[in-house]
């Protein structure tokens, strides 16, 4: 296994070098906005997938770096540099993954652990977005609303959510409600702050332009404010989903019997460090997948982000 990864590393220098010269005219950077003569320009959403082999120069470096770390990690186990009980090598995790895929962990199949965690998180994110974005936009536009909510948001946001667990159990019991609430509250608060900032950052000049074109306050809101704030909202949602996912462990510490977070904690008490690491890898990958999906949606829905007009 390490042979493959080593060959990638050694292949890197001469593969990365020839790609350098074509960087200046990256199609996604309109450094020369004064060149209008590009009628057949691909739609911005497609620019990462068209006309370029997937592992571009940067992706290749990233892949090589990951391969190198995986190799060293594997060697640390295979050559007994570190006790595999403390740091099981990737091969052990692979074995654990196959074992769990076949027989599950504690009577629950592995995919269900992933699905339960992802489901809890997605439900909480959805509600946080639906409630948080309008509230944040409102706070960004109406100082009175901001003055009312700001003290609470600013107090709760930096609070470690683990501190809320005892209260949450008292309020919601040990069912799904408690887990939902913990993920919800942590992502909700940062969505509110991000959406408020996005609404405040809306270009006053564009609002004025729309007003001189006869747009009513309602039209200004839906046709100017909302689209202008959308890139900022997307960024804040991406950050908040990351934060919400982080609090999954806290949520699943609350008397769960399934889910990735619970699996990690439970396996830790039995010293199944391979399962712990497998859980960590899956937690990381799922979080990464969420972000990648949001990034894809962002490119598709707000291709004008950061553009000048």
């Amino acid at each position: 296994m390490s042979l493959e990864s080593l060959s990638v590393v050694s292949a890197l220098p001469e593969q990365a070098a020839p790609d350098r010269p074509d960087r200046p005219d990256r199609p996604d950077r309109p450094d020369r906005p004064d060149r209008p003569d590009r009628p057949d320009r691909p739609r911005p959403s497609g620019r990462y997938f068209v006309g370029r082999a997937w592992p571009g120069p940067r992706a290749r470096i990233s892949l090589a770096a990951v391969a190198l770390v995986l190799t060293l990690w594997q060697l640390s186990g295979s050559l007994r540099w570190i006790d595999p009980l403390l740091l099981p090598p990737p091969s052990d995790i692979w074995v654990a993954a196959q074992e769990l895929l076949q027989s599950g962990y504690r009577q629950t199949p592995l995919w269900q652990h992933v699905a339960i965690s992802a489901g809890r998180a997605v439900a909480a994110f959805a509600v946080a977005i639906v409630v948080g974005v309008p509230l944040g936009l409102g706070m960004g536009r109406w100082p009175t609303l901001a003055a009312v909510f700001d003290p609470f948001v600013q107090f709760l946001r930096p609070l470690p959510k683990i501190a809320l667990i005892p209260l949450v159990i008292v309020w919601f019991g040990i069912g799904e409600g408690a887990k939902f609430f913990l993920i919800f509250i942590s992502s909700f608060l940062s969505i509110v702050v991000g959406a408020a900032a996005a609404a405040q950052g809306v270009s006053q000049a564009r609002i004025r332009a729309a007003q001189t074109l006869g747009a009513s306050p309602r039209q200004v809101f839906s046709h100017v404010l909302l689209p202008d704030a959308l890139p900022g909202i997307f960024t804040s949602v991406r950050l908040s989903v990351g934060i919400g996912w982080t609090s999954l462990i806290a949520a699943e510490m609350v008397a769960a019997n399934a889910g990735l977070g619970w699996m990690v904690i439970n396996a830790g008490t039995y010293l199944r460090t391979d399962v712990v690491l497998l859980g960590i890898v899956l937690l990381g990958l799922t979080g990464y997948l969420f972000d990648a999906l949001l990034l894809l949606a962002q490119r598709r829905l707000v291709p004008w982000a950061g553009r000048d007009a």
Binding site: P33, R41, R206, T212, W304, R307
Partner: protein
């Protein structure tokens, strides 16, 4: 139309837009105190179909005049009127072109131009026909499907011009719209603007600090002094239309007029900084 001779005397009875004895004071740096007087008893009026340039050094309050007319700001004193009605807020009958194009980057160029009509709920075919007509008029017929960020600065400003003009405003307010363009593009834009204006005959109030631009575009030039802003002089620009820069600079009157304007500008600026005045903070961009 080409024999149009600009009439220097203002027909007050037909005044489309007017400021009468308008004063405006901005708050001091800390929001308290008397602040400073930006406009002091400014009176001006534009007749229907007139092209007037408001000329003055930066900070003299010429943008404040536009902001009063567009309805973004209120006068502390005096009357601001359109066709005898007081102006109380922004409205589509007063079109505005800003120094920056301020297009909407989420809309195509054609949708940007059609923004006003869409807000007003025009029927679809009229909206599309007018959008096509305006795009052609500003030379962007082939760029309707593009997005603003794919256009050059001059093209964006042309799109902004079409966006303001499509609503057939009663008056077009222009706030140094070509100030951010390079000299060549600016010249082309000035010619484009006069060409369209000669067809549409919209009343235009055009703010600039460029004397040549004012003389090329205007029927009448109003020269403002600075701090407090006053109308220093009101000059008719007698040159035949259509004008070209080459012919204009050959006119003997051109040099005389330009000299007079430059003098008036210098006078207006000198009056602004009395000797005993303390060192000024950075002048507020007005």
């Amino acid at each position: 139309m080409s024999t149009h001779v600009p009439h220097p005397t203002v027909r007050h009875e037909a005044a489309r837009i007017s400021l009468q004895g308008v004063s405006k004071r901005f708050a001091g740096p800390s929001g308290q105190g008397a602040g400073h007087l930006v406009l002091d008893q400014v009176s001006l009026s534009l007749a229907a179909g007139e092209f007037v340039c408001l000329l003055g050094p930066s900070g003299c309050g010429k943008s404040t005049v536009l902001n009063l007319l567009s309805g973004f700001e209120r006068a502390d004193q005096g009357l601001v009127q359109l066709d005898g009605r007081p102006i109380t807020g922004p409205g589509a009958e007063r079109g505005m072109v800003f120094q920056q194009p301020t297009l909407f980057p989420w809309l195509s160029v054609a949708d940007n131009v059609a923004f006003g009509p869409r807000m007003a709920g025009w029927p679809r075919d009229r909206l599309q026909a007018e959008t096509r007509r305006l795009l052609a008029q500003v030379g962007l017929a082939d760029f309707g499907e593009h997005f603003p960020w794919q256009l050059s600065g001059g093209m964006r400003q042309r799109a902004a011009l079409a966006r303001a003009w499509i609503l057939q405003p009663e008056i077009l307010l222009m706030d140094e719209p070509f100030g951010a363009l390079d000299a060549q593009t600016r010249l082309a834009m000035q010619e484009l603007l006069t060409r369209i204006w000669q067809q549409e005959r919209t009343t235009v109030l055009f703010v600039t600090h460029d004397v040549d631009e004012a003389l090329f575009l205007a029927d009448r030039v109003l020269i403002m002094s600075t701090r407090p802003g006053r109308i220093e002089e009101d000059l008719a620009v007698p040159f035949e239309r259509p004008r070209t820069f080459e012919d204009l600079v050959a006119e003997p009157d051109y040099g005389r007029l330009k000299r007079r304007i430059l003098k008036a500008l210098r006078h207006g600026e000198a009056g602004a900084a009395p000797l005993q005045s303390p060192p000024q903070p950075l002048p507020r961009a007005a």
